[in-house]
């Protein structure tokens, strides 16, 4: 009876039908009932607004900075803000042109970049060496790690007065300060990179009978390299920070001296030129690290694609 019922009324759902003795008939009835289908194709991928937004992206992103520069120019040229507080964009550009013309900026840049680079190389070198010693040998970890972790908590800027007493006011205290600041990020990342090597790869090395030396050179060090580079990238940023801090205390040459002298003469145009150059240095540093990663890590899929 249920079979005939379900055939006569196919629109009814099976659960509404009287319980059947015949499971096959109940199944047929279920399958015969129409499903309420929703139209998924109605919602199309609308190209209009999204694509338009993407095309206008650069315009939108540029809106705020350009607006700020315009506001800066207007407020300074209208006399709302006196030049002793903030120089106009035009006078900043002129100051930059003059500084470049008489070679003052180039000299200052060379001196400052030299300090930062020297400090960075020394600091990163110590960081990598300490990271490897602590990462590769348990004894090394015991000897090095706790001490460095303790020293890490000292804000490096607090050391400036001490370094002035020890090393005077020449280049040495500045380079030492930058080096000290660079040791920690490089050390921490090197240590983590060495320790983070995949155990499963080490097992492969064991199975194929690699010596400890080969295990380190072929498995551990390449695996740690991305991490070491992250540390160096971080250290590069810190080296600039340390450079600015060191140069503002006392400097007879370099970007810091240029900026401090201008500050004493209330030449805000030159001060702003100095700030912009520091920023450009930061940008350059980032570029160098990206290039390094691309050269040293060709096997990394993320590096290849970026």
């Amino acid at each position: 009876m249920t079979v005939q019922d379900s055939r006569r009324a196919p629109g009814e759902l099976a659960r509404d039908l009287p319980a059947s003795d015949d499971p096959a008939a109940a199944e047929r009835a279920t399958l015969a009932a129409p499903l309420d289908l929703t139209d998924l194709s109605r919602r199309r991928n609308a190209p209009g607004r999204r694509a338009g937004l993407r095309r206008a992206r650069w315009l939108l992103r540029g809106l705020l900075p350009v607006g700020l520069v315009i506001a800066w120019q207007w407020s300074t040229s209208s006399g709302l803000v006196p030049p002793t507080t903030l120089a106009s964009p035009k006078s900043v550009l002129e100051a930059a042109r003059d500084l470049i013309a008489d070679g003052e900026l180039q000299t200052a840049l060379r001196v400052s970049a030299g300090r930062a680079l020297t400090g960075l190389v020394i600091g990163a070198g110590i960081g990598v060496a300490a990271g490897l010693v602590a990462g590769l040998w348990k004894l090394g970890e015991e000897l090095v790690d706790s001490t460095l972790q303790m020293l890490r908590t000292v804000p490096f800027i607090a050391l400036i007065p001490l370094f002035v007493v020890w090393f005077g006011i020449g280049d040495t205290p500045k380079i030492v300060l930058i080096a000290v600041a660079c040791v920690f990020p490089v050390y921490l990342n090197t240590f983590a990179g060495v320790r983070g090597v995949d155990r499963r790869l080490i097992e492969v090395g064991q199975v194929f009978g690699l010596s400890r030396t080969r295990m380190i050179t072929r498995l551990v060090l390449p695996n740690a390299l991305p991490s070491v580079l992250v540390g160096i990238r971080y250290a590069m940023g810190i080296s600039l920070l340390a450079l600015v801090a060191a140069e503002q205390i006392n400097a007879s040459s370099g970007l810091g001296a240029l900026v401090m002298n201008a500050s004493n003469q209330i030449r805000t145009d030159i001060v702003i030129v100095g700030v912009v150059v520091y920023a450009l240095l930061g940008l350059l540093v980032d570029l160098v690290v990206r290039l390094l990663e691309r050269l040293l890590l060709p096997w990394r899929p993320t590096i290849v694609k970026s």
């Binding site: 790869l201 097992e203 492969v204 199975v207 194929f208 009978g209 690699l210 096997w299 990394r300 899929p301």
Partner: protein
């Protein structure tokens, strides 16, 4: 084609005990594998199959008992475990002496797994099946007397798995190492092995000789009969139709 003359042993395990936190994974376990013999090891998950293989790979130690194995062993793991920072051909040569490490030797091994033109590729550019074949080439380049395979097909898609199984069979036939294949796939074990051993409660629960002609298609009443026996030992009472 089963070989009638008694072959020399390649693996001898006697009275082996291995426990993890009072649980005896291997309990007076004994197993002998002959030279050139292809043995598949089945067992429920957690039965200690992989532990057994790791003991033979010298990655784990035994608590008691005797384990004898040839010095020249190779392992293929479930994951390819290639060194990401070295090109494929350098990976293949891992563990060979400097004198033996030549591009020609790597290319020869890669040709055997049909990857001759991938020698200079980076591992991350390979598909799962290709990477596993590189791992196979890396294992075979040592011309091992004992080849340990730890579920090497488990992570591959169904079609790649069939192709890779056929390749393993072909390479075993050519080089004739003794093979211990750890797997959870009954059909795979029956298709490839001379002998299927089931590990149950730390002992050999079942030791079946697969007296079927090669190559095996995975059909026929004898195949089904062996399959039913193995599944019963593994605690699957009524074998469902092949997936």
């Amino acid at each position: 084609m089963t070989t009638p003359p008694p072959a020399q042993p390649a693996v001898i395990m006697r009275d082996v005990v291995k426990a993890f936190a009072a649980r005896r994974i291997l309990d007076d376990f004994a197993l002998t594998i002959a030279r050139g013999e292809f043995v598949a090891l089945l067992g429920r998950s957690g039965s200690g199959k992989t532990t057994l293989l790791r003991i033979l790979a010298e990655l784990d130690t035994v608590d008691e008992g005797t384990v004898l194995a040839p010095r020249n062993r190779s392992v293929v793991f479930q994951e390819p475990r290639l060194i990401p920072s070295e090109r494929v051909w350098r990976n293949v040569l891992l563990g060979l002496s400097r004198r033996e490490s030549t591009l020609a030797r790597a290319q020869e091994a890669l040709a055997e797994v049909n990857l001759a033109d991938h020698a200079r590729a980076w591992p991350h550019t390979l598909s799962g099946g290709e990477a596993q074949r590189v791992a196979l080439a890396r294992a075979l380049v040592h011309r091992p007397d004992l080849l340990l395979l730890d579920e090497p097909f488990a992570a591959l898609d169904a079609l790649t798995r069939l192709r890779t199984q056929a390749l393993v069979h072909e390479l075993w036939h050519r080089h004739r190492p003794a093979v211990l294949l750890v797997t959870h796939d009954v059909d795979e074990a029956l298709r490839l092995a001379d002998r299927v051993v089931v590990l149950t409660d730390g002992k050999v629960g079942l030791d079946l000789r697969v007296d079927l002609p090669r190559p095996r298609e995975g059909a026929g009443s004898r195949f089904d009969d062996l399959r039913t026996q193995l599944l019963a030992e593994l605690g699957v009472a009524r074998p469902s139709s092949p997936a």
